[in-house]
Amino acid sequence: MSIEEIENILLVISDKDYDEDSAIASFTNLYRGYSKFLNSVVSRALKDRGVYDEEILNTVISNTFYKLYENPLLFSFRKEAEDDKGFKAWLSKVAKNELKRLFNEYYKDTIPLEVLSVEPAIESDDLPEEIFRNVNFKVLDDALQILSERDRHILLTLYLYYEEGKNTPSDVLKMLCKMYDTTSVNIRKIKERSEKKIVDYFTKNTQLKPLKYVK
């Protein structure tokens, strides 16, 4: 859809108290325009975390669109926007927050919270920025594939909750312990081990040209 089409649709939805039929018709258009995109984002994210099931996928998508209908003017395009990618990014962000909310809600009654110690940093030397700049999608994807399925799921779930300068929330660790029937100490070990494997893989599989050969 074009930027103008999306903006018009959001405006019509925001007027739902005065013209509900038009709002629902516009909502239907928007859903048909973007639900397949959101479906592929969420199903990929869920599969990567080993918790793919239809109920979660459908609930995240349904709640994301419901929230959009309730507050359509929360989103606006930036002035320089050229296409609808900003809208897709926003939908994806709402879906991510919704997934986290649903997980927290689901596990809050089943997992007792406790204070957890500070996470140790990755036990490896900092790699040069160039190595990370030279990692392409294939190397990244291959690096993930060298991890066991369980370790990959755990790592990507932890990354879902990553916030710079903050520890992983204790309820997330508890949630993973329950999902994988293990301890929080093991979860941390798995994370450190997996990150070390990824860093090693990058180092081995990223070609850096020595400066003397660079023209």
Binding site: F137, L156, Y180, E195, V199
Partner: protein, 101 residues
Amino acid sequence: MSNRKKIIDLFQSKGLLFPETEKEVEEFELFNTPDEEEPTDWDAPEKILKRGLQNLTEIQTDTENSLNNEIEELRMVARKGNNLPQHIIDKMKAKHNKDDK
């Protein structure tokens, strides 16, 4: 910047985590073709509005799914009075060996 932050930024920039910027959406769409399958509410999206916000009633992980499949296989074997399939016997032996250590 720590290696962890660099790894996460890299995953994010290639669209492997939820894409949150236009650039990340572009990367995501390069490597992920949109689902052709129609989402559940495709025929009647207004049902979403009638339902309102939903909560999860059950979460099944891949591990649980595969465990459930194995249990179901064992149930079928027991019902039919057949011998256990070799891959299940191997798995049980491996589990016993691991537990003995």
